[in-house]
Amino acid sequence: MSYSVVGHSLPRVDAREKVSGNALYTGDMVLPHMLVGKVLRSPYAHAKVINIDTSKAKKLPGVKVVLTYEDTPKILWNSAGFPPSPGAILVEDQYILTNKARYVGDGIAAVAAVDEETAIQALELIEVEYEVLPALMNVERAMAEGAVLIHEAEKNIYGHTPVVIGDVDTGFADADFVFEDTYYVPKVNQVSLEPCGVSMAAPDIDGRVTIWTSTQMPHLVRSITAHALGLKTGQVRIIKPTVGGAFGSRLGVVNEPIAALLAMKVGKPVMLKYTREEAFLATESRHPMTMIIKTGVKKDGTFTARQLTSYIDGGAYATHTPSFAGPVAGWFLAMYKSPNIKVDNYSVYTNATQCGAFRGYGNPQVVFAVESQMDDIAIKLGMDPLELRLKNHPCAGEVWMWSGWVIDSCGFEECIASGAKAIKWTEKRNNGAKGRSSQGAKKRGIGMGYMMHVSGARPMLHETSAAMIKINEDGTANLIYSNSDCGQGAGTSLSQIAAEELGIPFTDVIITKTADTDVAGFDIGSHASRQTYSGGNAVKHAAAMAKQKLLEMAAEILETPVEELVVKDGRVWVRNDSPEEPSKSMSIAEVSHSAHFGSHGHQIFGAVSEEPPGNPPVYAAQFVEVEVDTDTGIIEVLRVVAAHDVGTAINPAVVEGQIEGAIQQGMGYALTEEYRYDQESGMPLNPNLSDYKILTSVDMPQIDTILVQATCPTGPFGAKSVGESGLVATAAAIANAVYDAIGIRFKELPITPERVLIALQNRDQKE
């Protein structure tokens, strides 16, 4: 199906203002009499505040307010941005400022002063006496007998979500082979280029507070912030300006309650901007997980039982973690079919910074483990790994266990076929040999990983999207949407959907780039890869409603039955007219002008608030070729082929951009990224971009994206999703390629040169 606006790589709606430096991010803003906020952070990973003396800080000229735990509302809250829903398990365990530090960087006090220098000086003048407690930096220590409690949760375990299908014991007994492996994935940070944690709060005279914040979800940040402050939801107004990347880090409240509390106590606007170090220290990142995977398999590659037991290191506060355990189970359940499946996920408190959302939401963790083991199984069975995957993945017409709903479109076989062809799978694969050919110490290998992901959060979460279309008197259209675009291009794709449905040029749609909870309808934000599918459906329906009204108006003017009229290229036409010699036609501008100023006197609107009709899964197969230098341990990724079923690509360049950028994050997960703590003191070891390595332009290989467009009947113009899926399978594909190159299975990320060298030495000693 060809469309006039959808399916075209049009320039993004916000590209020109960004490339010229004109786009305003929260941290670029200034309000009259604005103060600067700063947070005093605990130097200890686990400590009670015995005494705190702020008197010297308060006396410092230029300091306007100093707040501690004593000044905070005694209301427990949870930062995770979820609407109240069956799958949202919201353990409320934090205050805006604490009197018991649970990680290095926990907020003990906050100040607002006339400038940054004064605010920093004030922090230095606050005297705190701590009683230091043992720091529990990993799940083993936290769950150990007699371990000190971080909160009131037995053994520091605060969530256990068992899922049982069939009987795994019977399944394992029926198997020809049983595989059991333990995998570990580390904590990694989203590293949006705009550091996470920037908000500016301004109180007003009527007791409301307006917060400009770099967020993924204006409406849910509004309700959580209001709750934490003891306000009504309507007393908080959230405005989302341009956002400098998010990737999950802004999926919920970050520092909005602190900024708002400071502003409301002092009666002036307060800007609270975290430094890069604070973004590492005090904002949520990806969960480290220990995963034990057990799989029973017949000689022909049929699975008899699959089992996952995982220990999720949630860090110091619950935030997302107990809810997150649900999707983690879902990713595992849904990848491969088996009559017997069991999942036990344990959410564990530790004294690390709390973990939350990061692109993929548990799926990269699970897929790394499952897909690593899948290759081992294929090798043991003497099967092509592609065949093993094709034999066991769920297809269209079958129930997808993540949602419990029937899959309506599946492009996985095409992903496999096109990706394998592009990477030259059959020619290049070593089949687990210890490195083919190659030049001396450098061994080459290829590998792949498969994944499925969501296009939204249903049925786990209630998933409201709202859109409103106003047709202006000149025929242009305003699209009012709680546009939570953080840079991914959702605003552009939604504008294309509106233009296509309305039948007007793309440039005639003007979307609200800034989201404002006082203006736009309730929307649960930008996460779960949901903007195009869920938001896109709402936009399409609002546009269709406006279009219908336009046609009705035109029918009156043209004296033609409405069902005979169509809109195309900004004009209303009679359906079966010859394009060369139309009997009658009029422009949208003329129709709208007539609506405004003719006999009716109204503007044409279309507005909806709705849940999306489903949650279609997307599929991907990523293939990589690596070269392992057995002298240095360095792994070079030579090429990535990413074949993704996204449904209709509303804007192919935007879709490719999502995949290409995600692969940079997935490669970092595989090879370089790990946010580390001293295991005794709990002190972070690399909260900066020199020691926490994300990949640069010279580190990135050739990336070939292949878009497989298995259109979805319920998606807007057939679209599904792409926001998160690009990194989900990357680490698994790299680990499998490394195995193909050197015959060593790495079950822990990242696969650093040190780990490669040690593994090579260990193997050589054995041989």
Binding site: S9, P11, R12, D14, A15, R16, E17, K18, V19, S20, G21, N22, A23, L24, Y25, G27, D28, V30, Q190, V191, S192, L193, E194, P195, T242, V243, G244, G245, A246, F247, T275, R276, C486, G487, Q488, G489, N651, A653, V654, E656, G657, E660, G661, A662, I663, Q664, Q665, N688, L689, S690, I694, T696, S697, V698, M700, I703
Partner: protein
Amino acid sequence: MPISLQINGETYEVNVPIKKTLLDVLRDDLALTGTKKGCDSGECGACTVLMDGKPVNSCIILAVDAVGKQISTIEGIGGIMELHPIQEALVAHGAIQCGYCTPGIVMSAKALLDSNPHPTESEVREGITGNLCRCTGYVKVVEAIMDVSRR
């Protein structure tokens, strides 16, 4: 201390503390907020400006050390009415996502193409290696700069 800075061809008289960085003066004193702060320690390149034509991290240069130099920022490269060819290429190739690294990349690319108008792809990758981007994987950024270099 009172200093005079040459920025985008104009002279600015500012009174700044001696330890204030060029980045903070640009953003806080002169409202030139197109130059971004991503790390404040010379690691990410979001604050890249040109000093006498060479790309520098303005977060690790004191404003007082910029006296007597010609400083170019993103605001001096192209306005919203007329973008520089590098900017047009980045827009056309879909190379801009969150946009936070973009001004710095434009500056690095300009410095590269001013001194080497027809770089190889690996020279382009070297030229922007100091500019971290978390959105694009650099694919379309490199394509865009190569496209300009071929014109």
